[in-house]
Symmetry: C2
Subunit: 203 residues, 2 copies
DNA sequence: CAATAATGTAAACAATGTTAACACCTCTTC
DNA sequence: GAAGAGGTGTTAACATTGTTTACATTATTG
């Protein structure tokens, strides 16, 4: 099904909903979550405010939709970064590098788009379907690689995953909220990465 | 200076600003950050909306003020929990318990008041004075105790602090945003605490 | 081709943040 | 103590917001 997008006339947009979410995402990225509004988005999509209510029940739900899209975006960045170091093999250094890559991508995203990271983990009264997080699955895959290459014992795997996620997420969150500055960041980064590696790779 | 609160008449409130912040805090705690509003707060304080503008420049600034108050509240909880295990001594087990206590209090707060934890680390365009965080100072004090009781090398101290804060904050943040459920929490908690201790107390 | 569903518009509503002009209280100062 | 000055509250208005209702247009399906 190729994108019809705009047929004959202009009355029907053709792909609102997706356009709305995209514009809303950009709005949040640039001006923060509190400036996300039905009318502002409607203006930028060249559509009447009421039109949005054909696709979203409320502003709250739109917020949830944006949140979900951002979480997916983050996971895609992680996967991309992981692929960039090379395909999965049984090599210890390879799987270790791929593991680091997804953690780095996680906090890199928070540094690059702090407002988006913010909305991604905002408590939304109305979030989309609660599919299991793609990011979490990606982390599990990487841990599986570590196990297969003999770097991680399977019985430690779950513990490693939860610690890794918590500390990486904490670092990302502190950076995004500007609780730690750019100057302090390198130290935090090193501490967290070392700590995770110490805990994951028993020495 | 004892609380004058209400003098002769009712025209002047006597201690608005503080009352406003308190009511705003409770509003956020119960109904979430997005339902914090000038008019809603004004109603509950029995005051005209415009009155708030004698004490706050904007809603945004009030949000920042609430955020600051919550951060202080968290730090006070941490200090309280630490005192509860007993006063500081040179005992290894004592200082270790006091150290754990502040971390536990941190995430306990996030579990008990997720909405407040949320606003505490929201990027606020207008935050109060950027005094060094009380929570951070509390963490540093505990690490000093660990050093003094011979549990932690001084040169590792800063690294320990950053790792501890990141992972504890990450755990708290994931809990508050309901990214991890109450059922998953115990596992996460154990992983993070063990990970921190492994990294802080070289074995 | 006609009927029906989907998707847009237009106009109104209540509620919001914010401001300006005014009222009341408290406090200093002669 | 009276007078005035500054702080603190009220009232009324404004623009903007989320949301709903009634209607218009297009797309789809029998």
């Amino acid at each position: 099904m190729l994108t019809p997008l705009r047929k004959g006339s202009d009355y029907h947009h053709g792909d609102l909903r997706d356009a709305v979410i995209q514009v809303a995402r950009d709005l949040v990225a640039n001006e923060g979550v509190s400036s996300l509004g039905i009318r502002r988005v409607a203006l930028r999509v060249n559509v009447t405010p009421a039109a949005l209510y054909r696709h979203f029940e409320s502003l709250e739900q739109l917020r949830g939709e944006v949140s979900g899209r951002v979480r997916n975006e983050m996971a895609e960045m992680m996967i991309l970064a992981r692929e960039k170091v090379g395909p999965a093999t049984l090599s210890k250094t390879r799987s270790r590098a791929r593991f680091s890559a997804i953690g780095d991508a996680y906090v890199a995203y928070a540094r690059k788009f702090p407002r988006l990271f913010e909305i991604a983990f905002l408590t939304c009264d109305a979030l989309p379907e609660t599919e299991e997080s793609l990011a979490w699955r990606t982390l599990e895959e990487s841990l599986e690689e570590l196990i297969n290459s003999g770097l991680l014992e399977r019985r430690k795997s779950l513990k490693a995953a939860t610690l890794a996620w918590s500390s990486i997420h904490g670092l990302a969150s502190l950076v995004a909220s500007q609780t730690i500055s750019n100057k302090e960041y390198p130290l935090f980064r090193k501490s967290v990465l070392d700590g995770v590696q110490d805990a994951v790779f028993a020495r």
